[in-house]
């Protein structure tokens, strides 16, 4: 079937790669070595240009990472290259990977330089810090933490992500499409209430903040909001 090129190459002495006797491979028995397949995209370096879309995962709450990994594997969140890698992994192993990245400290990227009109800034800040009660949108900070660095164990931080990525995530929930729209949760309901204009303003604003701090502890979450997201956060980080 696969017709390939015909030339069969045969060589004796001429071998291209008779570079024998190179350094033997040494393989440390660590998680860092095991997740090399991930950091080709999620690494610290070279996050500019075409890589800008890859979200940072280091330092995010463990339960959140674990939920995402299961969602990718089980087709509740769609990204084929990751689904391929995770296809044959057990929950136990995914949890270990989540733990590893959650504990990993990497320098944050510099904020994106994005020009925003003053009204846009106001719109974004109002939604993020006060919400929009008439549409039942709580302040983003009420769930994602005062400093927007997330809340343990399952709510991610919103800073240090690119504008393209944030726009795509909000879009995925709002369109109910394949990317992230398949499983309803407290976040998808909120995203669906946002207008295009609001979503754009938020994405620009978040991507242009500089980042510092860590996820807040679970107890900063009001019981009402915890309840609203119970499906995602309480059940051991999210069995659907």
């Amino acid at each position: 079937m696969m017709r390939c090129f015909i030339l069969l190459v045969f060589f004796y002495i001429t071998g291209v790669a008779n570079a024998h006797g190179g350094t033997p491979v040494k393989v440390p028995d660590t998680m860092a070595e095991r997740v090399k397949a991930c950091i080709i995209c999620h690494g610290a370096e070279d996050k500019v240009g075409r890589d800008a879309y890859y979200p940072r995962i280091a330092g995010k709450p463990q339960g959140y990472l674990f939920n995402q990994l299961r969602d990718f594997r089980d087709a509740r969140r769609y990204y084929q290259p990751m689904a391929t890698l995770l296809e044959n992994m057990t929950d136990e192993y995914l949890l270990e990977i989540a733990q590893y990245f959650s504990a990993l400290q990497l320098p944050y990227p510099a904020p994106e330089q994005i020009h925003m009109q003053p009204e846009e800034i106001k719109l974004a800040e109002r939604l993020i810090y006060s919400g929009k009660p008439e549409k039942d949108i709580p302040a983003c900070s009420a769930c994602h933490g005062d400093i927007l660095m997330g809340v343990e164990p399952a709510i991610p931080g919103l800073l240090g992500l690119s504008r393209a990525y944030i726009t795509a995530q909000l879009g995925g929930w709002r369109n109910g499409g394949i990317m992230r729209g398949q499983a309803a949760n407290c976040m998808s309901e909120i995203a669906q209430q946002l207008t295009d204009e609001e979503a754009n303003a938020i994405a620009k604003w978040l991507a242009s903040q500089s980042v510092s701090g860590k996820p807040s502890p679970f107890n900063v979450l009001s019981s009402e909001l915890a309840h609203r997201c119970s499906q995602t956060i309480l059940e051991n980080g999210g069995e659907k």
Binding site: M1, M2, F5, I6, L8, H20, V25, L85, N88
Partner: protein
Amino acid sequence: MRRLTMILMASSWICAALLWGGIVFAADTVADEPKHPTGTQQVVHGAYLARVGNCMGCHTTKSGQPFAGGRRLSTSFGIFVTPNITPDKETGVGLWSEEDFWQALHQGKSRDGRLLYPAFPYTEYTKVTRQDANAIFAYLQSLPAVSQSNPPHDISFPYNFQPLLAIWRALYFKAGVYEPNQSQSEVWNRGAYLVQGLGHCNACHSTRNVLGASQDDALTGGQIMGMNWYAPSLSSQLEAGVGDWAIEEIVALLKTGITKRAVASGPMATVIRQSLQYVSQEDIHAMAVYLKSLTENESGNAPGVSFSVMSGSLRKHLDLGGQLYEKYCQTCHGADGKGMPGIYPALAGNRSVTMKSPLNAIRSVLNGGYPATTTENPRPYGMPPFQQILRNEEAALVVSYIRNAWGNRGSLVTAVDVDRSKGGEY
């Protein structure tokens, strides 16, 4: 176009994914295991046999209820949707009798007499004994009933035409329980029974004809329809024949997914994760004995084509691939291509790399992958995808290089080959 049958299997993994109007659902499950059957001995045995047959792999969607069906298997004939085989009376097989079930597994007929598509590998399951079939049935009936109706198949004309299926069956399907070969040992026969029957290895590892039939029982290798993976021949030493392997090594590959000279990737990793890792030591040993016998007497490893010394331009061409190898691959697979046994597969002397069809090697480079997570290899190391980094021409260069370095030899690969190897699940 090739065979339906197994495709499906394959498809199992493939799923309709993108092909299908943008809806993506593949299926497959890492979902919860059904609880251990409590009932009788027969039920326990049936649960084991269902594992060997990997019924759950096809009859469960990703994150769906075990055995409730709904998984989409895409093939060149269209998309098959697996049925619910839990004992729900309305939507499953709750009203089925043991005899109805036997008709399905052995004859490929549904309870209402409809001929079943060989996407359901009854072409292999027909070899299962009545006693084993009854045990599987008892197990299925012991499961919690799940009420779930699944959408109909979406098969393109003319394959949706039942009389065509009747003709296909007349040509390619022969019902019949496995008949032991008296000149072979009991162990060998047990292995043959499992490999040819419940294990349905042939569903993938065989050539397929236009209508999707396996050409024969010979495990001769074939591209899995709808899946864009090549399942190598188990009866050729140039591909995946294991005639010169020690039995323990074959056992280790089937159980753990990785050995010092091979790693099971893509759909084969899924088969190991879902099914083979649970097969008893005794049965897996029997399978290994049978598989080994398929190529035991085959000697020559040399491909039929020989060629003289490489031309200078060819060598330059491969050197370019060598530079890419050094930059992207060498840290894991080593300058000598020997990798690290059990962790990073050797590429030197690896048949998956040099096989006539370069498809799998190209796919490994484009998509990367992890070997199956198994009890024996619970924390595997992984290979990164390079699709987002290497252009088609570069991927072609590096694959051509590994096919011809360290004494390997294989045909050169072109950018067109690389492009054709994209798509499909995995």
